[in-house]
Amino acid sequence: MRHLLSTEDLGRSNAIRILDTAEEMAAVGEREVKKLPTLRGRTVVNLFFEDSTRTRISFEAAAKRLSADVINFAAKGSSVSKGESLKDTAQTLSAMGADAVVIRHWASGAPHRLAATDWIDAAVINAGDGTHEHPTQALLDAFTMRRHWSRLAGTPSTGADLTGMRVAIAGDVLHSRVARSNVWLLRTLGAEVTLVAPPTLLPIGVEKWPCSVSYDLDETLARGVDAMMMLRVQGERMNASFFPTTREYSRRWGFDDNRLRALDSLGLKDTIIMHPGPMNRGLEISSAAADSPRSTVLAQVRNGVSIRMAALYLLLSGDNREPAHHANSTPSIPAETTSAHVTKESH
């Protein structure tokens, strides 16, 4: 892997490799000293053209736990707001010796432009581009699901995929990079995905996606769901007639208290409720659902740091080999690197 731009073109072996590496990184997070020296002397730039404190601090924490130097470059209050182009910004970062650029951009495809042009030589990680993709979010979601799925099966999560898991994703699919990245990655990992949304919030062409589509959340739940992921819905969509009112939206497509109770009556005792955050409590998810024991919202945040550590590690460690394609491929962090450092650092 040279860049992490999308999950659409992320193969199964690389996906599993990131998830497995994240398991090892998670172990670091459990320690008293949550730090590895792996990326000492390397520079990671968080290039954010769109506000997202959560994603930025998650990447920042990940890079710092790997001992990288972190530069935060926010578009607001920088030369970008004075009209500097993406090209000039990229060339500036390149001249400063950035090894990796974590880019969040309002324009779909901006990370692809950085990776495809000669503006900058660094590894590019897409931290969310427009309504296109958010691959590390999908990876952390898959990581969260895999831990849950493996625990139910009583098997270790390392090396596993999500074969047979039923995942429903409900909300504003049309404008959601999280939905897109999840659909591709979950397909790759063998899960069965159903998108649930008002027809106005599904893209034309969704029928070609490797998933089912439903307009009816209750019917979807009744058919059985192992993970229920709610997407953030912007109330302003109402003004563009995507739905009549936020109340009607909540009644038909929100995960409210009735639906939370329905999980119990349907016998879906192990179904988890997921949300990428930030949540609109009372719109797409009720407080009772968000705070229930089924909710994995905080686990997702925690796992996000592990996933981003894994991505930075794999892109910057210099190990650009394609992983072996058999299922039992060895974990990707060389034992002497991690174990040694972990031992040393954890005292």
Partner: protein, 458 residues
Amino acid sequence: MASQQQDAGTGAYLIRGAAILGGAPEDLLIRGGIIAGRGHNLPADGATVIEAAGLVALPGMVDIHTHLREPGREDAETVETGTRAAALGGYTAVHAMANSTPVADTAGVVEQVLTLGRTAGWVDVRPVGAVTVGLAGEQLAELGAMADSRARVRVFSDDGICVHDPVLMRRALEYVKAFDGVVAQHAQEPRLTAGAQMNEGEVSAVLGLTGWPAVAEESIIARDVLLAQHVGSRLHVCHVSTAGSVEIIRWAKSRGVNVTAEVTPHHLWLTDELARSYDPVYKVNPPLRTDADVQALRAALADGTIDVVGTDHAPHPSEHKECEWAQAAMGMTGLETALSVVQHTMIETGLMGWADFARVTSTAPAAIGRVEDQGRPLDAGEPANVTLVDPAARWTVDPSKMATMGRNSPFAGRELPGKVVATFFKGHPTVLDGKLNTPYRWLPETPAAAGTAAAGSN
């Protein structure tokens, strides 16, 4: 024939053995701005001989849709550079779209563009007048004044923006009947395309780019053909891009509506799959569509449903393309690749011959624009607007070597067939041996000759 010979100037050329419209080899003698003879074994009689065995002779190409950017955006293109590109591409006339700065919505601006074109001298620059003041879609521009000006405007268009108000469109169609004008519509329903970035379909769904649905084009065309029929006027549809639009135009023509339609070279070949690269060189308006649309457009051009190829040549400074897709300007250059792309997509596929090529790139566009001395048969006594093409040539597109200032060619790096060897404009070779020669020099106009094709010398 001899009586039409005016100032002979210095140039007489004998084109020896060219396949005229792709037919059997014949000679063409060009002298005094006209085709002085056509036949076999014509005597050179002091004329410069051009050995044209293997070459195809065509009537000089006429572009119904060109953006020359001047006045206002001389950093993108000037009339001089754009018409050099046109001559190299085999053109002898271009219609300069009205979306300059200031907008070509007055007699003054269209006359300025006319003068710039004549000063350059590479092709006949026919200014297009804006339909509405400032392209704002609110109030009719002084169409009559532009029609009566030295520029003799006959094509009116707000191209780049749709005349979306149905009442305004109706009035424009009605009004241009007074001077045999035509309204060239950029068919794009604005509300359905707010923020649109690319064709709405499978690819836009994956890329997360706001969709430009086919229905936004088709609904306007459907409305406009009905309006044109209702008021008995002449409608031209710019850059048709969808299979559905083709169906509507075919239906309208079958009902006798006076509608003509245009397709760009890029819509005859490229599809929205190219947007997967997020490279804005593929960003254009209307957007690249699907392969089903491409095939429908080719069939429509071959069967006459679509009348003409128009380049929609749209040069942009590189900084408007070296950026995020959503930030990038829409448009592609086209003058220097049109012939080759049409050869590749229409002739080498067996859909058309060179005579059809002459119809869609010269005869029909000249007729739409009422360019009387262009798009004529290659016969004795006709104005000598002639393009010589080597159909066997192959070349690789390198935008940095083009005459246009625009580097935004979507065909960069592709190998294309067909090369323009020579272009004769009013009997003068603007292009020889595939290279720019010298421009035609217009004689100063006398009031009596105003607006007519003045004879000139080098």
